[in-house]
Amino acid sequence: MEHIVFGIGITALAGALATVAGSAEDTESNIGSQGDPNSQVQLAPQMGFLHRIFNKAVAGEPPAYGLWCCLGAGLAWAFMAMQINPVLAIVLGCVLATFVQGVYATTAYVGRTASLAKFGQPVYVDVLKSMTSVTMAHAFIAIFCTVTLCHLINAALGHPFPLPLLGLIWGIALGAAGSATGNPYYGKERQYQNQKFGAGVPISASGNIVRYAEAGERNSIDNGFFTHKIGGSASGICFGMIVFLELWRTVLFEQISAGWGAIIVGVLIILIFTVIDRYIEVWARKNYGPYAEAKEASS
């Protein structure tokens, strides 16, 4: 019984860490403009819309976070092997991983923006100076929380995978969950704030991103401020639920019926999310209604 209570406590802590990690990951990628919406940041100067948005698409978010979390976890693991206190080892490992992220961010911004020189897009040194440190700070939070939850899974819950491999797996899952949930909110709702609410961006408007703020030109920190309220929170809840429910069903139900208990609970949770998804879909169709009459649309 004590073992199960301990496991539930660790599961709750890991879920909370994952929620913070997901939120920080999405906000970092939006400030750095790393996910799929970066296609518009890259496209805008080619359409004649010069801007001061940070542009650091190093790679897709999942492989990028897979690298950084694996690096942080690997270094932390090495420090722990040197008999350094786990808390200090994780912090040091994550700091070093964050520096690697900063190097990638810098080279990505300079390289990608320089490739737009023929369209007149300047490399803004002040953008580089002010944005890089902000993305690094958010990346540190995301990496630290992910590596810490991996350490908890490994050391407290006894998962067989070593820490660096867990860092790689949960880093990729973090990037996948964060980019899937957070990208549309940044891409549609923030970059195309001048388009109608409640509709997708017409393909003909591609590249015409919003470039001006209340005073002066829009910068990427404004984007992070805007998107973290819904996109970041949703990404956090998404990754938090993934980690929490995956651990919860295993810790509580794995011993029932030689492992089948956790499987049955997993299937039940999938069915519950299926019902919620269908409810959301039907709710939207009823409350928002069609864009056009059915006959016109089909003709």
Partner: protein, 281 residues
Amino acid sequence: MSAVAAKPAAGGAMNPTAMVVGIVMTLVLIGICYMFAPVDSQMMVVSVLIGIIVGGVLIGFGTHFVPVGGAPAAMGQAPGIATGVAMLAAGAGLAGLFGGAWAAEQGMVVAVVTGGVGGGLMMAITCMMVNFVYVFGMGIPSASGKVANDPITGDSQAEFKSQGTEGHGLPFVSFVGGVIGGTLGGAGGTLIYIELLGLYEEMLPNVMQVTPAQVMPIAVSTAGMFAVGLFLVNAVLTAYNITGTIEGPHDPKFSRWPRAIVASACASALCGLVAVLIVVL
């Protein structure tokens, strides 16, 4: 024939010659594995390779189900999840592998099913949250651009597409496709891991001249890394097959799966051969 002179082939066209070549290459690789395996454990080693091939095929097939819209989905211009095919499939499948590896001691069937459910759970949560953000964050209902009616619910789609877009969000059939894709990916990744773990536990103590207890961390780590690597190989191959974006099982691109199966089998056989030979040779 040069690339310029080649006829533009339809994206979904099958090339029977290439398919046969792929199958023959797969069989040749299995034969090579049989030849190099120690005489007393040839069948065991070959069965491990076949298990890896089956796992790779499950991953390749499962990736076709995952609804991915790429960059256009991030602007609400196309349906699907706004990220890369290989990346999302890897995220779900590796989350499944995490659960499957945890259940490895419970036997192969339980571990593979646990891995599948873990992958499906990750995709169910992600797909639900995608629709949550579209509906409550952006006020956009789901609409498919590829079919007039949702094949599962029968909901009409065309009038819910906003002007100038190909659709947006995740219709119910895409949600179900995502869960199936995550399930198959998680099960495939776990199957590869379990097969390799069993082989390494058997062979590594003799190769390294250490006790089985000492070899466990190395066996687990190596099998885990190969499982992750094989997952990415198969997911990326499939991403090429569906050329970037797919809505799910109702998308016409889904019919391209047979050639991805052959390609995945061939690539898994080659990668699996390397994973097997490091302890056999």
